[in-house]
Structures are given as C-alpha cells and as structure tokens.
C-alpha cells in the first residue's frame, strides 16, 4: 500500500465498478421485501422465554410510572398499532410530549431508536420514556427500589437474569427483549412477494409499481421494513429541530428518522409531529414536494414528482396490503405481587 500510485488506485476503482455492475442483478431480488426469520439481539442480552415473560410484565405495568398511571403500553398500545392514535404522546397527569409516539413494530431491526435516533440500542431507549417528565416521570433509583419491594418481580428477574438482581440495566434489558418480539406478521403483500398473485388487488400492484417507480418512495422506505433508517427534513414547517439537537451537523437540521410502513394503516396520525391524519395526505407531502418546499435543509429527496390524486390512491391501496394479522399476544391482566 505504501507506494500505491494514482494509477494503481484508479485501477482498483475500475474493479470496484465492475463488481458493482455484476451485483446489480441481486438488487432486483424480491426477497429484500420479506422479513428475516431471526430478530437481532445483542450478545449480552440474548432472547430467552424468561426474559420475554419478565419484559412483557414490565412493559404493561403502570407501576413503572411515578404515579402508577402510565405504562409503556399507554403510548405503544398493541390495540393501536403499538402507537396511541394521538398526534402527540400523552404521559402522566395528561402531560403532552413534543412528538408523535412511534410504533414499536420491527423496531428491533433498527439501528437507531427515537425519531431523532438518539439511542443506539433498544436497551438504551427503554429507560428514556420511564424517566421523561412528560411520559412516566419516574426516577430510576426509585424504580429499582420499588421493584425490589415486589416479591414476584424478584423471582422473575432471578429467572431471567440469574445473579444480576433488579438494576437499571436488567430492567432495560428485559423491556428491550419483549420489544424484540413485537414484529410484523405476514401481510397480503408478503404472500404476493412469495408468489400468490391473488393476494393483493390489481390496484395495489399498480400502487407498488408507483411506490418503487414514479413515486421513488423506496429511496427511503426501503427493504422488508420499508425504512432504511435514514434521516430527512420533510419541510413540515414546525419548530422541532430533530436530529440537529444531538449535534449541529448541517444535514441533521430538522431531520427525523424514516418510519417503517408495516401496519401503517393502524398508526395514524403520521409524522414526527402527528400533523397528518391520512395516508393520502402523507403520500402527497412526501411525493409531491413537502409542505414548505423552501424549508432550510429540505431533503433533496422531497421533490414534486407530480403524483396525481388517482396515483396517490393506488399507492395507498398498496400500503394497506402491508397490514398483517394482529400479532398473537396475551396481555397480562394480573401483575407480579
């Protein structure tokens, strides 16, 4: 490498280009739209039945909030597409949060959590809402004390994380493990991709062609989870600066994470500020140039593609085929005592 001449590297560049051309065929592989069988989990928090059981109790238990009124499920409710149907999250004492509650479906497959991606793991994410004053407003030391006073939880933690005790760490790990089980189920679209031509309507097929063609929606809503995890400013005109709050990087100004479109029919209202009520409206904002096309740092992907009303309806028909059967789930009614 020491005397790698300019010519040498240009040659390497040629080789790279050649490899890229041959892999172009793989790009057309339709399997990229199917959910992988396995859910990724970190080495130090592998998924076990004991951890799922514990995590599920914690997820639905209102005793994780300061005044025992709010649980994770309040804002990420399985009955409401694992979101809450509100424009913005509502925590204890009716306090309104700054952003729309994102669904947790398939969040296990995402590298960054929260709308602004500030958490790099589900374990890190899980403790955020518990402490946020507009959500569960609970002090973590206080929570550890509270759970240690519940015999049933002491036993469940011992089974799930032997010898580790009830700590901030094991609470986060257990909740994250349960969240990893919340994955999209087979939808009509998946049956279509697997070869069942009758699984979706002709209109939905046209909609899918527009989604990946004229609409270029898959520039961001890419792969089985219909998101590539990218951050963009859609020009909604609100005052939330998004990812820019983490670091003043120009391309992060007003940028938010691309959400999944799995079960998107269940998770209205839409966008980080919950300002959009229907999928037609959402498709028009994304596909036809944003609400405020002159916004600073507007994503270059937000441009007017000239989608007609009819085309937008076809795309929405396609989006509806991403709704799977409700996940099989027993919601706990009795909690550890």
């Amino acid at each position: 490498m020491k005397y790698f001449s300019r010519f040498g590297t240009i040659l390497t560049g040629g080789v790279v280009a050649a490899i890229l051309t041959t892999s172009a065929v793989a790009k057309e592989d339709m399997n990229k739209w199917l959910r992988p069988e396995n859910v990724p989990a970190p080495k130090d928090n592998q998924i076990t039945p004991e951890r799922i059981t514990l995590g599920k109790f914690l997820y639905f238990d209102t005793r994780l909030s300061r005044d025992n009124t709010v649980s994770c499920a309040t804002c990420h409710n399985p009955e409401l597409g694992w979101s809450d149907g509100q424009p913005k999250a509502i925590g204890i004492e009716g306090r309104q949060g700054p952003r729309n509650s994102p669904t947790i479906i398939n969040t296990a497959y995402q590298r960054h959590q929260f709308w602004d991606g500030r958490a790099k793991s589900l374990e890190e994410q899980a403790l955020g809402p518990i402490q946020a004053d507009v959500e569960m407003d609970m002090d973590l030391d206080e929570l550890v004390k509270r759970l240690n006073g519940i015999k049933g939880y002491k036993e469940l933690f011992e089974k799930a994380y032997p010898g580790e005790g009830i700590t901030k760490d094991t609470i986060a790990k257990a909740i994250a493990t349960f969240e990893r089980t919340v994955v999209s189920t087979e939808a009509p679209f998946d049956r279509y991709i697997k070869g069942d031509e009758n699984a979706i309507s002709e209109n939905a097929k046209k909609g899918f062609a527009l989604f990946t063609g004229k609409g270029k929606c898959n520039n961001c809503h890419d792969g089985f989870n219909f998101t590539d995890g990218s951050f963009h400013n859609l020009g909604l005109g609100d005052s939330d600066i998004g990812r820019y709050k983490l670091k003043k990087r120009a391309s992060w100004f007003h940028a938010f994470k691309t959400p999944t479109l799995r079960d998107v029919t269940k998770t209205a209202p839409y966008f980080h500020d919950g300002s959009i009520k229907t999928l037609e409206e959402a498709t028009a904002v994304c596909g036809n140039g944003g609400r405020f096309p002159n916004s600073k740092n507007l994503s270059p992907l937000i441009e007017d593609r000239g989608l007609t009303q009819e085309e937008i309806r076809l795309i929405v028909d396609f989006l509806a085929t991403l709704e799977g059967e409700p996940m099989k789930l027993e919601i706990p009614t009795k909690f550890p005592q």
Binding site: S5, F7, V16, D228, W252
Partner: protein
C-alpha cells in the same frame, strides 16, 4: 514529446512518493470498499454513484470532517491529515460505514 514524457514521469513519481488516491464509491447506500488502509497525506475521493444525496463525516479524534450534502454524481476529496483510525458514516444513511486506517 520527450519533454511531455518527462513531465508525466516526474508527476507520477511525485504522487508515488508523497500521496495516493483512494476511491470510495457510494452505491446502494453502501461505501465500497468499507475498509481502507491509507497514509497521512493520501486523498480519499468520495464518488456518489446513487441517484440521491449522500454525506460522509467523521467524529474520530485523529480526523474530524463533514463533507456536507453530496449530490448524485458529485466527487468530494478529503485529505487524511493525521495517523489514526477514522470511522466514517453518512449522516443521512447511518447504516453506511467506512473505516480508514491512516498510518504515518
């Protein structure tokens, strides 16, 4: 003719002894290659081969940079200033990663 060849040879020699270029292609939301060994003074040329904007930044201690919004088809050159491991990411597509191992 002789003169031209001489200039060419001299310029090649100059590049050989002082710096090298490394081409990184951004294609299908991936850096190709995703690992590079370089030397201080080498140039990294980012080539956006996708149909949409990319970015490349590093918050690494040895070399911090941010090339800003990089349009489709645009080339951006970054010179490696210090030895160290430079972790590069795209600010728009955080799944894009590149490691540059810069040696003295």
């Amino acid at each position: 003719m002789k003169k031209i060849i001489f200039i060419l040879a001299a310029s090649i020699l100059a590049t050989v002894s002082y710096s090298a270029d490394h081409i990184v292609v951004q294609k299908d939301k991936t850096f190709h290659p995703n690992y590079i060994k370089a030397k201080v003074g080498d140039r990294i040329i980012f080539k956006n081969d996708d149909g949409f904007a990319h970015n490349a930044f590093s918050d690494s201690e040895s070399d911090e940079f941010d090339i800003g919004m990089q349009k489709p088809g645009q080339d951006v050159v970054v010179v490696m200033k210090n030895p160290g491991k430079v972790e590069v990411e795209c600010a728009i597509h955080p799944n894009m990663h590149l490691t540059i191992d810069v040696q003295k």
